[in-house]
Amino acid sequence: MSTSRRSSGRRYTTRFVVAMTAYTVLLVAGISIANAIPESPWRYAAALLPVPAVITLAWALWRYVIEADELQSRMLLEGLGIAVAGTGICTFAYGMLQIVGAPALGWIWVLPMLLAWFGVGAVVTNLRYRS
């Protein structure tokens, strides 16, 4: 369908914003509920509340990969490359620091870091292909 590629960027932005809003709300809710019932086995279910939002985020990205035109696909690939490289370098470097005594950080920080680097990647690729 011809309208598919032309508006793919707008659709992706909408899906991304909705998923990120849900992620933020469910993250706060999940942590609050889990902390309120520290002895209950339901705390595990509460802690997993934000996961559907993360799955929605991955789905939005996947849809964009399918719907994007060739320049958008290239920009996405370059942005993801920056995100993977940035996250890989940071997590590896901090992992090495942890070995020699830096405070331990949880896996929870990997996704926000990946998203932050993906944001950097989006800015860099937009500047690169801007006329």
């Binding site: 011809s2 590629r5 032309r6 508006s7 793919s8 960027g9 035109d69 060739e70 320049l71 958008q72 290239r74 690169r128 292909y129 801007r130 006329s131």
Partner: protein, 64 residues
């Protein structure tokens, strides 16, 4: 690669949005193509040439 996209688009009295619609790409892609920031794939280059009823060489020329 240099191109005459902007000139040909003006000659055919098309806006960037209209050209994007005909080529089934985003307006962002048309802007990047016109600005010489992005070289299209061969299928897209053929689609551009077909839109302006000319050959690929009439639209695109190598830098050197």
């Amino acid at each position: 690669m240099k191109n005459r996209l902007k000139e040909l688009r003006a000659r055919h009295d098309l806006t960037q949005a209209q050209l994007a619609e005909r080529l089934d790409v985003s307006r962002q892609t048309v802007i990047a193509l016109e600005g010489g920031k992005y070289d299209p794939s061969l299928p897209l280059a053929f689609a551009i040439a077909r839109t302006f009823e000319c050959s690929i060489e009439d639209v695109f020329t190598p830098d050197a």
